[in-house]
Symmetry: C2
Subunit: 164 residues, 2 copies
């Protein structure tokens, strides 16, 4: 599968997780991650594989649906947002392992050709109680399109490696 996601260029932000944040498990100031990436042409291909409903597959059916045009599956929006999260400027040594997601919402559809931007707010950083080499960050991810409209929001708990 050839990627059609094109990075447009990151906005730099403080490298929060290489700072002392995870050393003591204390609370950080709220930190914001901003980045940009190109998006889609893959709306139909993704939908054919994972969400094969007419309004995600066919322009005419999409026009007649409540979407009034082709739009990405919400799970495609979620997957693209993950791509932004992983390949953005927030570099987490050892990787980010999602433990759970809450309040996942898709207030606006993503259209083919949209440019998505992910903003990650780090709400909380704490050491794992059971695994001293791990930490858990709680984040709020907000994905917007090129008009600044919010297309997805969620909260998540993410397991990361802890600096000892």
């Amino acid at each position: 599968m050839k990627s059609t996601l094109r990075p447009i260029g990151p906005i730099r932000f403080p490298a929060v997780l290489t700072s002392p944040l995870l050393r003591g498990g204390g609370l950080p100031d709220i930190a914001v991650l901003c980045l940009l990436a190109g998006v889609i042409a893959m709306v139909i291909a993704f939908a054919r594989e994972f969400d094969p409903q007419p309004f995600h597959l066919d322009a005419r059916a999409a026009e007649q649906s409540i979407f009034k045009g082709l739009s990405a599956s919400g799970w495609h929006t979620a997957a693209m947002s993950m791509r932004l999260f992983i390949t953005g400027e927030l570099k987490v040594a050892g990787g980010s392992i999602g433990l759970g997601v809450d309040e996942l919402r898709w207030p606006m559809p993503v259209r083919p050709g949209d440019v998505l931007r992910l903003e990650t707010e780090i709400l909380d950083v704490r050491a794992s109680r059971s695994k001293p080499d791990r930490g858990i960050i709680r984040i709020r991810n907000v994905t917007t399109n090129q008009r600044g409209e919010i297309v997805q929001t969620f909260m998540a708990f993410v397991m990361v490696q802890r600096r000892l």
Copy 2:
């Protein structure tokens, strides 16, 4: 993108949403949807596109990670579960439009070659207050593997067309 998801065969269940359920917006008995589908070989391809972390891309890195072997991105598991939901025996006229997802959890990783099964419990059916031609169902989706282990759970609100 050529699909590698292979249906293994559905278990039949009462066609709940072609029953009178949405006619009056009343509460149904809890209904359960069961179906089966083949799964993966696409773990790495999906991860390369949407979740490019070493433990989803490389067998050796995966062995050394807490996953102890290659596993699918949680968003891949979510997307495959959507495929099961849409192509299963629960046929919703006009399609299913996800409004929101809560309590999305991945208690076990999905491995390449796993066979996933989705069970959808319909918790609630009601008419939309603002759009008389629409209804909203609240569901609980549980995805299990071939050993019956739960690999994903979530609750969702789904917009459907209402019988008038």
